[in-house]
Symmetry: C3
């Protein structure tokens, strides 16, 4: 977009009053000049047939000796008149000596921000921003430049496969001048020059603009809920952190518990974040490089997962020149068992954000975390599920997702048997969206079932349909939920058929009814439901039978046991600690909440460990209120 | 390809008799006009300096007032003379008033079908067909248009990453006008206009043409075999269904039993279908998106497989805008255990076609199937193997594959011990192709062995060489077969060395010789042959020892048993039903044919279930003819 | 780059003395001609309006009858003057009859080698070389041409997806004429003509040049070590073989033992080879297609690995037209158990190179190997570790890697407890590079730990950082090593806590202290350290306790046992042979060195086999020098 000179028609170098002489800014390109206008020029070379002059860093040309009046050396300045732009792009000037003139500064007309590039295809622009990714291709080096308007790839070609501007690093503030191109329909800037910018004011301005851009939206909460308010404040901070990560070109790697609540947390957030990534990057293909969702099978961040995450992150960094990702732990990650992994990642410049509603060890984990949201930190408990939190978080990132996700908190609550007083409101909200309570239960069951069979696969194609987020076919959603939920039920019943007849019962000294079931020898193996869920199904069955009396269920295999209880004040973490101390060589480890948990040991010590465990259970107090796990139906 | 006007040399607008005035069809592009010819034109705009006229939807230009005689309004028609095509493509007309003229309709010369595009690179064409895929790229939206001549990608650009023609959906009949381009050497059409076509006649014509194109070839069968004839008719229908799926742009996902017969079925079919896909799509890169072969480890369509298939299908649909695939089950899929999976897929618009020769449950499965081919449905049995069927099916899709596959039925028959009376003819046919019976046995054994080690990998590189289909190096084929077959034999012998000494024998009341072997504790684990095949090897060994007397073999592990029998009228499916009823809580399930099968139970009930099973076996009738599983050597 | 004609200014066809007439070589293109020069020409066609003449294979044009003096037939030669190069590229000649002239040969100025193409973008060149890869794309056929200067892709377009020059095969010597293009910044040649060259001299010259190029570098060894010298000579031969493989366009597939020494071997070699591949291929994207590193979990080349390797190799051959790869076995591959795999691969034109320091069976493996390096072949032993060998080998391929890898031999030696007399020098060398002995131990432990959790993943991102090869961030290296090594130690201690209390001891008749530990029932399962390493940790613990007295440790599971001994002259391979013979049906197999090894059996025979094994151990001689496995700390 060349500038239009208001009065350039008479700018022929004649000495009329108020002749204009333009002074080009250093960044101006040839687009900024016009034939028959006058310019301030500086000599940059003297040759036998004339002098070469610079009008800016990017505009030069010859004043032939035949049209040169004075005698100039390199560095001298004088006024020139642009006579001609030749076919090959060369500029021919003649010397001009206007008796009277005014100087007008030209440029930088090309200054633009990333969000304005759409309209500038084919034109030169000047962008100022931070380098957030440097990808060396077989051809050019691609610098991803980020300003307050978004992120755009800028291709600089030095030599095939050779790093252009080798001194420029990630996080450098730079000024790029180049032409905006549409490449396969996607925008990029063909770099003409790239300068490291040391202007601290510009850096400060940009940072302020980004800070502003990262501000969370503040939609009204889906339901009024006082207990949620402190958590809500934490979530606003997380929303800003996540938006800022996207603006900083930092990928986000989500690890979520592979169960119903975990998916109710991860899927809405993935949806909102994907939309945000899409809005920030001018290249629509970038989403898949900047956002990944991965299920975690274990109830903590296990060594295999962190080893792989770290390896992939380092490979992506090397291959695509990306920043290391921000790790976002969902419905997982608040406990001491997660710290070994965190310790390393934080050393690797991988920020960690945790949203969990399992009983946390804040002293253990928080030194490694950038953000930690957990209702227990506000004297609340797991009834505020991770899914509930993440739906509000997703809306803070992009309020327009509300319609798609307003049924999700109810699903999350039912999955984790939340006794929140607002459950009815969440369910009513889902009802408005067309889901009755049975539908919601089925969705939860279907998520669990899908998670089981998908194993380490994120199953996006399927899971989005099950949860009906980003799925535009309602019938398809209903079909897949019906299919998965009915199979989950069938398989659970099949498992109960073989386990219940072999469940051994005993009444403990404290009056609790203890059930023990061998989930290795009296259950179908390698199928749904797995031992933990099988134990839960047995327990729920027994709780219904006893109608309020205290019930404890132990489902055991060769080297593990799963524990569920109702109406008894167990303290499973404490019991595990005691067992570990009292039985050296039994390899006892494990954990959980007060009344649900799991425990591992070496198989040769199973009898000894379980007997000791039952002894402790027999001494526990009866407490009818501890009924958190009661099945809703 | 501009039209040539027979008598255009005097078409200068003078009033000679028989001046020709051309009337362009709406779809004609500028390629259809010629300087100095006359045209019917319609005014589409009036400006101070003349009028703009349309000759067609794509051809417009100016009649300058200086060469305009009449006074026209928008919508008026008159005759123009094309004076000039300017460098920038603009057309200049003058008004023409021939005293006497004849009108000739021009166009649509550009009408083409997909198979004609090769010769039209650089030209505009008009295609009428159905949209079979809509892929949104970071740049244009790519509509895959299908007519009777094939499928071509048509790229329409609205804005980077923005859906062009958002109202157009899969299966819409449309007319595309655009230029044929060669992009990386592959053809595509650059869309100029895309109109939804509501011409029912065109739809009917296209459907008839596709119906015709999908007709199966009718090569003579490889061998004359009366028993095969009813199956053959079914196969012709399947051939038409599969060809039509390809013509409809629907991907085909093949799931085959991961054993010798399963691969003898899948590989020839994959070969023929790949060639057909190649012939239908002008983009040679499409084959891999439209055809996948996957082995199934289980003898039925298990939950893990269907969950993944569905997830991948939905992801491909979202990512590539493809239709959901047709599922083709080979050597698997006829039984009640497959129905849960089918039910869902059929709700998802995923047609299902089954070719199997295991004992079917037609009432259970057929409600969900588009086609079901199984010899048992024609009072035949498993001696007509799936491999035999699929070789004929492959030839119906592409008769030119015959040379490559004529040895395959013999391999399939030997793998599954078919006692078909035409086995000798199949073997003779293979002999003509250079394979003696030992070669064929080795190929079968090599396929089994490769399937075991490849696990969930389709192993195309290897399997094609083993079966010598689409492998152009005979020596390589022989080497790999020799390698795999000799290792299979070595490993089987090694397994027999440890199992035979621990096989316990007993004579049942009915005179049958029962052998029991613990394939968990007295066999090498996690290696070839797996428990089922190990049991079979023990059984074959014992059958040879007893030389005709009835033999039953049970190979058991902690929670399963594999059953083989010879000369005894067992009814394994019935026995499983009885055991399930009689032993609640033992988790009994399973199935099979009369005399081979498998059974699962919970490990804590193994003794009880096996004892009950043996009791039932002792009551079975002796029947010397039930020798189907006799080893051929 | 058109030729400049020294005296072409007067080459106007007038009969001045010494008029120059140029004689173009057959390969000259139109770049070699100039308007107003004279040329020898040959008639290739006679038309009514003149004759067409050839100046070379690529330069032709018309002599119009109006400027043609003589009467010529096809095949006649005469002299022409180039009058004009028209806009469309056509050449117009007139006949010239200089009274006196001299002939000058022109061309082939365009002759080039692959390493010179950088400067020739946009120009025509003639390359002579061997075809090393033929990739059929959806567009052109891409021939990868190799000469002594490197490998360049040459794209020949026949028709979309149709094989150009179908007679040309891999390994053919060809001459390509075409234009050098920069495509996405990477060079390729757009083929104008491709001729099979039968010039034997050229073939011989090329081979000699390649032989020369493949010569290994001969850097001074990192440490002076006489025992290493014979191995060093073998390594030079391997270096030449590997360089030649790269020059031949043959991919290299590395399989290495997934432990510390295996990675110390593979990582430096991968680094050096990647740099070499990069230097040979003008397309920088080729590295990933030509070099793969894969860990092998088993201590031999197991059936699952070879089946997959073969399958992938065949698929790559079909898909990319690549040669089958060279297999490079590292820290693995010298034993009889590897031969089944080798037999097949060698039949498949897959050269095999083995570098191992485990006790070899040269008679068994060498018939299948192209190179076999093993210190035992020179009366040395495992103290020369594979990592030590590979570091020297890497330096022979690229001496510039020395700085990056000089600490690696020390790590390798510590990992495998090498008692080499130069260990101190290696450690001193590492110390110079900034690693003290604790650092090196930690690196080794970290490699082991990472290998365990990465399973079948090569883990490049992580492993390069751990070993600090091709990692430019020292702090990051230190962090990840500290993280992994400390976890390895923690997990090993945790394992010892549960195994030591259940380790049963007995004193054998020969005075050796035998320890037995059930690593299935008294160890944590599916975690680090696995049974073998757990047994080693128990053994090391007991060795320290006994302070020099003989110790044997057996760690057993249901169907395997791991053996470690110190100070006893066991001969484990011999014991396995005896047990196999004496216990038919026990399925005994296994192997190892004299004093470390493993043994498999069927679980039903465990007691019998272990008792027999212990009996043999009780008869072994005590030998205090057999302390190879003593822990260094």
């Amino acid at each position: 977009m060349p500038p239009t000179y208001a009065d350039s028609s008479d700018a022929d170098g004649s000495s009329t009053s108020s002749t204009v002489v333009y002074d080009l800014a250093p960044d101006c390109t040839v687009d900024a000049v016009e034939v028959d206008a006058n310019y301030h020029a500086t000599v940059n070379g003297v040759v036998p047939y004339g002098v070469f002059v610079d009008l800016s860093d990017h505009v030069s040309g010859l004043v032939h000796e035949s049209v040169l009046d004075g005698d100039y050396d390199v560095g001298d300045s004088f006024i020139v008149h642009l006579d001609e732009v030749r076919e090959n792009g060369d500029l021919s000037f003649s010397e001009a000596s206007p008796a009277d003139y005014t100087t007008e500064a030209v440029g930088p007309e090309n200054d633009a921000t990333v969000d304005e590039l759409d309209d500038k295809v084919g034109n030169a622009v000047r962008l100022t921003g931070t380098v957030v990714q440097i990808r060396q291709t077989a051809g050019p080096t691609v610098f991803h430049l980020r300003d307050a308007g978004g992120i755009v790839p800028c291709a600089a070609f030095e030599e095939a496969g050779v790093r252009a501007y080798p001194d420029v690093e990630i996080d450098d503030l730079v000024t790029v001048v180049g032409e905006v191109e549409s490449r396969n329909g996607s925008l990029q800037v063909e770099v003409e020059s790239l300068d490291t910018d040391t202007d601290e004011a510009a850096a400060t301005d940009l940072d302020a603009a980004l800070e502003e851009a990262a501000q969370p939206a503040t939609p009204d909460p889906l339901v009024e809920w006082e207990a949620f308010e402190p958590v809500r404040e934490d979530l606003e901070s997380v929303a800003a952190t996540l938006k800022r990560a996207v603006l900083d070109g930092r990928p986000i790697r989500m690890r979520h518990h592979a169960d119903g609540d975990g998916m109710c947390a991860a899927v809405p957030l993935q949806y909102a974040l994907a939309r945000y990534v899409q809005s920030v990057h001018v290249d629509p293909g970038e989403t898949r490089h900047h956002l990944r969702r991965l299920p975690s099978k274990a109830p903590f961040y296990e060594m295999e997962d962190v080893t792989r995450d770290l390896n992939y992150a380092l490979e992506d960094q090397e291959r695509h020149g990306q920043k290391l990702p921000l790790l976002l732990m969902l419905d997982n990650g608040s406990t001491e068992e997660d710290t070994p992994a965190y310790r390393t990642l934080s050393e690797y410049d991988m920020p960690i954000v945790v949203l969990d509603h399992h009983h946390p060890d804040p002293e253990a984990v928080e030194p490694y975390l950038d953000e930690h949201v957990n209702p227990y930190l506000h004297d609340e408990d797991y009834r505020i599920t991770t899914g509930m939190m993440c739906v509000e978080l997703a809306r803070m990132i992009d309020p327009d997702v509300t319609e798609e996700v307003r049924h999700v908190p109810a699903v999350a609550g039912l999955c984790d048997r939340s006794r929140a007083e607002v459950m009815d409101e969440y369910i009513a909200l889902a009802d408005e969206a067309g889901y009755d309570e049975d539908d919601l239960e089925d969705i939860g069951e279907a998520l669990d079932y899908a998670a089981f069979w998908l194993r380490y696969n994120d199953g996006s194609g399927l899971v989005d349909d099950v949860l009906n987020v980003d799925c535009d076919d309602d019938q398809r959603h209903r079909d897949i939920v019906e299919f998965l939920a009915s199979h989950a039920e069938r398989d659970r019943d099949r498992q109960l058929d073989v386990t219940l007849p072999h469940t051994e019962s005993e009444e403990l000294a404290n009056g609790a009814n203890l059930y023990r079931v061998d989930v290795e020898n009296h259950a179908h193996r390698f199928t749904y439901p797995a031992p933990g869920k099988t134990t839960g199904a047995v327990h729920d069955h027994k709780v219904r039978e006893h109608d309020g009396d205290p019930v404890i269920t132990i489902g055991f295999g060769p080297d593990f046991a799963v524990l569920r209880s109702d109406g008894v004040r167990l303290d499973i973490p404490e019991m595990v600690t005691q067992l570990t101390d009292e039985h050296p060589g039994a390899g006892v480890s494990g954990g959980g909440h007060l009344v649900v948990g799991s425990i591992k040991f070496v198989s040769g010590k199973r009898e000894q460990v379980l007997d000791a465990l039952v002894e402790k259970m027999a001494e526990a107090d009866i407490d009818e209120d501890l009924r958190s796990t009661l099945l809703r139906d």
